[in-house]
């Protein structure tokens, strides 16, 4: 368990160092995840304890954004002023994204037929 946590934190630390050290426009933990994928490929798999730790974190992912979400109370004024732009952008952009992603996937997953009518 400690080994698994240390592995995850070490990957995150390496990610933060790389992102800041090289001035990359990527969040440190995202780079850390890429490092961890590399490590898994090299070691041939995560092993049971890392798998358990990762599943534990990911199955409770939504809990983790509660503290930051509560911080929205600090921005009540901004949301009050801009609610129309925010609501419009969220609603139309989300519907559009579902449609475009689904259509492109369907378009390319069909086997190509040379002489279709």
């Amino acid at each position: 368990m400690v080994h698994a946590i240390a592995t995850i934190l070490l990957a995150q630390l390496a990610g933060e160092l790389a992102a800041r050290g090289l001035g990359l426009p990527l969040p440190g933990p995202v780079l850390g995840a890429l490092f961890l994928v590399g490590l898994l490929a090299w070691r041939g798999g995560p092993g049971e304890s890392l798998e358990r730790a990762a599943d534990g974190l990911l199955s409770n992912l939504s809990l983790l954004f509660v503290p930051a979400g509560v911080g929205v109370m600090l921005h009540a004024g901004l949301i009050g002023r801009e609610w129309l732009a925010i609501a419009g952008a969220l609603l139309f952009s989300t519907v559009l994204t579902v449609a475009v992603t689904g259509l492109v996937f369907r378009l390319l997953s069909r086997p190509p037929r040379g002489d279709a009518p």
Binding site: I5, I8, L9, A11, Q12, G15, L26, P27, G28, P29, V30, G32, A33, L34, L36, V37, A41, P46, E51, A54, D55, L58, L61, S62, L63, L64, F65, V66, P67, A68, G69, V70, G71, V72, M73, H75, L78, E82, A85, I86, G88, A89, L90, L91, F92, S93, T94, V95, L96, T97, V98, A99, V100, T101, G102, L103, V104, F105, L108, S109
Partner: protein
């Protein structure tokens, strides 16, 4: 000062109270979600946020005091992002089989999400800070908050927008897919995971296990893709 008031003054300043309150509020949200028959509108995070904000406002507790306790939960966002490596590794064979449609759909979806959110917000006269907070709205919140911070948005505003996007995608997404006659579970999952991250993934698992798996993959990959694309778009715009 009464004994009760003294107790409150002590507890309200310690991390224990607000850390416990965060977990209890989330449990209450999860309970309400189950009781409602897993209705996407009764999202556990939205319920927890509403409960906690209500308590903080009612007791006159500043957000900074709350966060001193809640930061222990907040810290785990980074490790959770790193942990996405494990499912990516686990599903590598499915990924390889559907590589072409998945990659193209992800790229189109990520670009659509960022550009349409930014474009609509600008057209409706939103502030640059709001626009920057909206740009990464479709990806899972640890990544979205990191992106927002980097481009001059407000991470906590982004967290709330990410949750709203998740709920909208979970409520409207399946209907959109039905209207477009997209019946392949792989396509359905990819669309829901790309547009609305973990909450969309939960909705995809309700359709079908394969759809849920693809939604999880799409959520993780879109996190990386959006982290790469947003700074590029910001430089171009």
């Amino acid at each position: 000062m009464t004994e009760l008031e003294r107790l409150w003054v002590y507890l309200a300043a310690s991390p224990l109270l607000w850390l416990t309150a965060t977990l209890l509020a989330y449990l209450a949200g999860a309970w309400a979600f189950e009781k409602s028959g897993r209705l996407a509108l009764v999202n556990p995070v939205a319920v927890a946020m509403a409960l906690l904000i209500g308590v903080l406002v009612a007791t006159g507790t500043p957000y900074r005091t709350y966060f001193e306790g809640a930061q222990f939960v907040h810290f785990l966002l980074g490790p959770a992002t790193v942990a996405l490596a494990v499912p990516l590794w686990r599903y590598r064979s499915q990924l390889r089989k559907a590589a072409l449609p998945l990659a193209a759909a992800l790229l189109a979806g990520a670009a659509t999400s960022i550009l349409s959110a930014v474009g609509i917000a600008l057209a409706l006269g939103a502030d640059p800070v709001t626009v920057a907070s909206l740009a990464p709205k479709s990806v899972t919140s640890p990544i979205a908050m990191g992106i927002a911070e980097q481009i001059g948005g407000i991470p906590s505003l982004t967290a709330a927008l990410v949750i709203c996007t998740g709920i909208l995608g979970a409520v409207l997404g399946p209907t959109v897919l039905r209207l477009l006659r997209i019946t392949d579970p792989q396509a359905q999952g990819t669309a829901l995971g790309t547009a609305s991250h973990g909450i969309g993934t939960a909705a995809a698992f309700q359709i079908d296990k394969l759809a849920g798996t693809f939604a999880g993959i799409a959520m993780a990959l879109n996190g990386f893709l959006t982290a790469l694309l947003v700074p590029v778009f910001v430089r171009l715009l």
